[in-house]
């Protein structure tokens, strides 16, 4: 044997070779990280080949560099992930027209009408705005209680343009105003985009008509949900 077999570790946790020795032994300088291979590599074999005739096989074997015999490790390959990114499944109790109770956010406690599930998995809801002030909005299923009350919105057509993109805020220029601009007498209130107001009216018109048909439903949607003394959510039927 050309090289005697050495134990990898002198003692538990203490390796025989130092960090720099391991680096050169592994030829880690050849390991390509960004896809840029070192050009200097090509020069090396030429030097070793020069006095070929004088070297015996034994000497060659003893002085052979490990990287000429064994393949050098390539770019480390990351493991293929098995998680698929898809929209969460819609709860069976939530169907178009279901009255939902919002549990968190600006409109917590409000009872709203569910319209449809968007591609991102979020639920598209509306108050309707005239009834309880909740506009067309996206809401996460997890922050919602589905009641068994359904509004008949089979005749309502929701424009395809109302999607996740519709709700993404427009990038505004950084506000560089001073106090007076914000709080002064002439402070401009950010106006709600007119096309959104129009879209709201279109969607709500038929829903409000459907709600009006059921006695007490309009005032039900106008009111907020709360727990009173003795009520526990796990015992209540919604």
């Amino acid at each position: 044997m050309a090289k005697s077999a050495h134990k990898n570790q002198l003692a538990p946790g203490i390796s025989r070779l130092s960090r720099s020795k391991v680096f050169s032994k592994r030829a880690a300088y050849k390991i390509v990280k960004d896809g840029k291979a070192k050009v200097a590599e090509t020069e090396k074999p030429k030097k070793a080949e020069a006095p070929v005739s004088e070297r015996s096989d034994l000497v060659k074997a003893l002085t052979a560099e490990s990287n000429s015999v064994y393949p050098v490790s390539t770019i480390p390959k990351s493991k293929a992930g098995r998680k698929a990114i898809r929209a969460p499944k819609l709860r069976q109790s939530i169907t178009p027209g279901t009255v939902l109770i919002l549990l968190a956010g600006r409109f917590r406690g409000k009872r709203v009408v569910f319209l449809k599930q968007l591609k991102s998995g979020l639920l598209l809801i509306t108050g309707p705005f005239k009834i309880n002030g909740v506009p067309l909005r996206r809401v996460n299923q997890a922050y919602v209680v589905a009641t068994s009350t359904k509004v008949d919105i089979s005749g309502v057509k929701i424009d395809a343009k109302v999607s996740d993109e519709y709700f993404k805020g427009e990038k505004e220029a950084k506000p560089k105003g001073d106090e007076e601009e914000f709080f002064g007498k002439d402070a401009k209130k950010k106006e709600h985009p007119a096309h959104k107001i129009a879209d709201q009216k279109v969607v709500d018109k038929e829903i409000v008509a459907a709600v009006a048909k059921v006695p007490f439903l309009a005032s039900y949607l106008a009111s907020s949900f709360s727990l009173s003394k003795g009520q526990a959510p796990h015992t209540l039927k919604f």
Partner: protein, 139 residues
Amino acid sequence: MKSGSFQRLVEVGRVVLINSGSDAGKIATIVEIVDHRRAIVDGPTTNVKRQVVPLNNVVLTDIVVKSLPRAIGSKRLAVFLEKNQVVEAWQKSAWAKKIDARQRRANLSDFDRFKLMRLKKQQRNIVDRQVALLKKERA
């Protein structure tokens, strides 16, 4: 004549309300007594299979089917029950009505609870108005 401290006795023909198990909430009739702890109970008109039931799992009601032969079969028991109108008597009782009201209240949906609140308010309004008028008259 009913005497002594026990008004409801474990006897053949006694109608019982089953409290625990899969038949909980249903009534059945004692058809045979096994020992001081168990009885054979049968409810052909109330979907209770003929079975041995520990008397701890059961509550005696006021209803008795008089002169019921011991160990009567299910088919003939159904005839007896219909003749004595046992199920109707049970459903008319205040006890059964209270159970029913409790269940209805527990099964109210959120919208139902809202409607209930509104109707109670309306009722209160009408009653309180009249009471106020009467008070005014008396004053």
